[in-house]
Symmetry: C2
Subunit: 211 residues, 2 copies
């Protein structure tokens, strides 16, 4: 298809598509003349992912490019590609200095993951993000023990199994990688808004009694 | 205690405490002379909450003030206060225009909550945030059916029961309200980082086989 059709089918303006092409977020089309290029279904699919990252996830263009580069890096296996792509997504900043609280938070993050039966990968940015979040709880004196954290880990475990099954429904390794990244970003606000709704429901039930 | 002791015990500089006092994030101390005021344990506790909101949650000062005003509003009952306080926390913006996708997303959000046995409160900002998140999934053509969403709702339900129990351990209605707000903000990054770690673990198990 030509640029105009790609724009119509994706709902993205031709100016924005050209911008994504210049920024390397979209691979170039196949040149068919000096001024025209042909685009395929993979461009349509990639545009969808770029919009998930940039428009919905509000991820900076440079970060989105890193994520897509990891997806496309065919020198590595599927697992490394998915790990690198998800790790490139924005994460909370790691703690600025490694004080006593951070050391306690690291021990807590490790113990929690051991209890959940997970491998501990300290250079996973999500591990660092967890340590930062636990250090904030500890520093402010809010409850934060392995027992209190386990329900969150168990919930995440259940969701991950569901998500891996969902991603498995996509046909090829590349579409699976793209879906993994898009669903990671797009389901975060779903989960957080459902948590707040569930809290409101639980508070109402407890304070007003069952409906 | 005097300002200097409040600063020492909270780890917040006197300049920042004075700023919070001026901005109405902290109630004034009891004046004991023209230049000195006396502060109590409630100031220390409130400072902890303000830091959770402003420093960790990166919530704008004006928004934090709204949240605290709702907590302190003794004209309303506990349930209204908790609802108003949590609703005042930052949420994703609602959809800009109510097109066909938004209508579908609203129906989906309603059906999901019915299936979970929750009351549907359309003016809860979290309900609007859920509709926005579902509309983004639908618009980009990613999987988004009630069946696929139910595991997220069930996970949120389980966590809410745990959180209500956690909050119930705080002594007074006011400290419970403060804890509800602080834990809503502080546990969001815990949940999101655990989800990413669980995904990494599930992907590793599936692609490499059990350890």
């Amino acid at each position: 298809m030509r640029l105009a059709e790609l724009s119509e089918r994706s709902g993205v303006t031709t100016a924005t598509i050209k911008y994504y092409l210049r920024e390397g977020l979209l691979p170039p089309g196949e040149r068919i003349s000096a001024t025209q290029a042909e685009y395929g279904e993979e461009h349509l699919r990639r545009l969808r992912l770029v919009r998930a990252l940039v428009q919905v996830g509000r991820i900076p263009v440079a970060t989105a490019r890193e994520v897509l580069t990891a997806i496309d890096d065919d020198r590595t296996d599927q697992l490394t590609r998915i790990g690198t792509a998800v790790a490139a997504l924005p994460q909370p900043a790691p703690p600025r200095r490694r004080d006593e609280t951070v050391v306690t938070a690291e021990a807590l993050a490790g113990e929690l993951q051991r209890r959940l039966g997970w491998r501990i990968v300290v250079d996973n940015p999500a591990h660092q993000a967890l340590v930062t979040a636990l250090a904030a709880l500890l520093r402010l004196g809010y409850p934060c023990t392995v027992e209190q954290l386990l329900p969150y880990g168990a919930a995440a475990d259940g969701l991950a199994a569901h998500e891996i099954a969902l991603i498995g429904e996509f046909a090829s390794p590349t579409t699976q990688l793209e879906a993994a990244v898009a669903l990671t970003v797009l389901y975060e606000p779903v989960l957080l808004s459902l948590r707040r709704l569930a809290q409101a429901e639980a508070a109402t039930r407890q304070l007003r009694g069952p409906s």
